[in-house]
């Protein structure tokens, strides 16, 4: 029983990070109708960024989050303005942006490989192995901090989307871009901002993931898949839906470790995806992603 509670707690802590990671993908899809296949690439970039700043400049990984946000945002703006903007949208164009962003991902991987080799790296701080006791079970201090930061960022994002003019404009463009043009909203600018925000979220999530798990240049493929499962399950445009979906995924994953051999846990995300597609293709909350 105590073991079960411990696992549940660790699932909740993981879910915070998953929700934030997935929100970046969902935001870009909701507004631009483009699946950012480079999401995994930016998660990998975030992890390496945190590692590099910690190793070379001695900056605490959690303090370098703002740097990751700025770098991620700038990269997103460049990718949108330099590449994605020129592609057609809609059903026929989806494939093109997909292939293009996949190409960008491959390039980023290769750059990381050349720069940092293919070896596994990890961000190790003085407090990496510290634990605190919560409700009678020992929890890693790192995981608690990551959860708090991810939750804080999600709340901040929600406030941005619901309480500011920019957020309202972003939501309006997601609903109907043509009407927004008529109403005098600079839709192109909103697209640029949204792509930047989504990419920044992925980069920050990558940095936080890097403090918990080892990574190498191929890091991010599994995270992309998990983000995708969460977006399908949780629907678009709802922070709550995303959070609940992230919790479901985290619980399934954490308990799968109990039942399955370790190498099979990598396949859990995919199995969950197929189950979701068969039984709840419309997701649980918010705007349907499919059909």
């Amino acid at each position: 029983m105590a073991r079960g509670l411990e696992l549940l707690l660790s699932a909740v802590l993981l879910a915070g990070l998953y929700a934030m990671m997935a929100y970046g993908l969902g935001l870009i899809y909701g507004v631009l109708r483009i699946v950012n296949l480079n999401h995994g690439g930016m998660i990998m970039v975030g992890a390496y960024l945190g590692w590099y700043l910690h190793e070379r400049a001695g900056i605490d990984p959690y303090l370098s989050l703002p740097i990751a946000a700025v770098v991620g945002f700038a990269t997103g703006v460049v990718i949108y303005g330099g590449l994605v903007r020129y592609l057609p949208r809609g059903p026929a164009g989806g494939v093109q942006s997909l292939l293009l962003l996949f190409g960008v991902w491959l390039v980023l991987r290769n750059v990381a490989y050349l720069q940092f080799t293919g070896n596994d790296q990890a961000i190790r701080t003085d407090y990496s192995t510290k634990a605190v006791v919560v409700l009678g079970s020992a929890l890693s201090l790192n995981r608690l901090i990551v959860f708090a930061l991810a939750a804080l960022l999600l709340v901040a994002l929600d406030l941005l989307l619901t309480r500011t003019y920019l957020g309202k404009a972003i939501r309006a463009v997601a609903q109907n871009a043509d009407s927004c043009r008529v109403a005098g909203i600079d839709v192109e600018r909103i697209y640029t901002f949204t792509f930047g925000f989504g990419t920044a979220l992925a980069t920050m999530a990558g940095l936080l993931l890097g403090t918990l798990f080892p990574f190498n240049p191929t890091f991010g493929a599994g995270e992309l898949l998990k983000s995708f499962v969460i977006v399908v399950l949780g629907g678009l445009g709802s922070v709550l839906g995303t959070a609940v979906a992230a919790l479901i995924l985290a619980i399934v994953e954490v308990f799968a470790i109990l039942l399955l051999p370790a190498y099979l846990t990598g396949a859990v995300g995919f199995v969950l995806l197929v189950l979701v597609l068969i039984f709840r293709p419309g997701g649980l909350f918010g705007q349907r992603v499919l059909g």
């Binding site: 050349l114 099979l264 396949a267 995806l273 499919l290």
Partner: protein, 324 residues
């Protein structure tokens, strides 16, 4: 009305048929006429296989517009099923290939039936999951795949040499199938699904059946190619068969050649094989990034790849007739 015209179906253009027969005859005779070095023999055989896989990938990725980043799963599953059957040595060596193809097609159907209701980008991400999950599970399933050390296959040098022709005939069949699918009701159905899936369903196209069938066929062909590929090297191991690079290579061949065109992916495969040889020899640590760059450039500047360039030239030469 000439009489010979009655003997070929009306959707088959005589020009295409002539080029096809000529190409097959020349390639068939090539090793008898010219003394091919083992290296060239090797490259041609592999090129036949990769052209076939690129064409088959294009059935689902191009005709139906469902880009798969997970075809390495079928390549590997087909390869390993064939390898296990070959090791038993109870049937002629081509029976295991067919068996591998059937297993791979069935495997494709198993994951494809639920995921094909996803359209476009979402289907593609699901296929990344399929590829990764298959790779993980089969790499650790030592009883079937032999784990990281792989399996050795009983293929002698003479049979290995003759695989050139088997690969060639296999390619010929796949090329005929590509042309037939494109011009059949199935091909039209896929085209309508690609353009607008709801409209297609409304006018009575069996959306689920068409997509399932074409994924099965595509998976089966790629699976057979996996079996021949493994036979050619007399050896098979999971990281080579299931690697992410493998899946990317199928996508890239089709994109370079022209996604959705009938024979473009074949051209793309030829370019890809040559390019890969050059890159591995000269810039082994850059090839992944260069593939990525190539994808970006093709998508930005010529979405139909080499076929798009050919169409442009053709249009310039015959301005009064539409080339496409």
């Amino acid at each position: 009305m000439s009489t010979w015209r009655q003997f070929i179906p009306e959707w088959l253009s005589p020009a295409v048929l002539a080029v096809f027969v000529a190409a097959a005859a020349v390639l068939h005779a090539l090793p008898y006429v010219v003394a091919l070095s083992p290296y060239d023999h090797n490259q041609l055989t592999l090129a036949f296989l990769f052209i076939a896989t690129a064409l088959a990938w294009n059935w689902i990725g191009g005709f139906a517009g469902q880009i798969s980043f997970g075809h390495a799963a079928m390549f590997g599953v087909g390869g390993f099923a064939a390898a296990r059957a070959l090791q038993m040595q109870v049937a002629p060596f081509w029976v295991p290939w067919l068996l591998g193809g059937l297993v791979a097609g069935a495997y494709g159907l198993a994951w494809g039936h639920p995921t094909l209701r996803l359209r476009g980008p979402y289907f593609s991400i699901a296929t990344i999951g399929v590829g990764e999950a298959t790779r993980l599970v089969l790499t650790y399933w030592q009883g079937f795949t032999g784990g990281a050390s792989g399996l050795a296959l009983p293929i002698n040098a003479q049979l290995k040499y003759s695989l050139y022709w088997y690969a060639l005939y296999f390619l010929a069949l796949v090329a005929i199938a590509s042309y037939a699918i494109r011009n059949s009701r199935l091909g039209l159905g896929l085209l309508s699904i690609k353009s607008d899936v709801e409209a297609a369903a409304d006018v009575g196209v069996p959306v689920v059946f068409c997509q399932d069938l074409v994924l099965f066929l595509s998976g089966a062909v790629v699976g057979v190619a996996g079996g021949i590929y493994a036979s050619y090297f007399s050896f098979i191991e999971p990281s080579d068969m299931f690697g992410f690079d493998r899946s990317i290579s199928f996508v890239l061949m089709a994109v370079i050649g022209g996604v959705g065109t009938v024979f473009g992916p074949g051209l793309g495969a030829v370019v890809f094989v040559l390019l890969r040889q050059f890159l591995i020899a000269s810039y082994p640590q850059l090839y992944l990034g260069l593939y990525g760059l190539l994808l970006v450039l093709v998508v930005l500047f010529e979405p139909l790849g080499i076929s798009g360039l050919i169409f442009r030239v053709a249009r310039r030469l015959r301005p009064h007739r539409g080339a496409t």
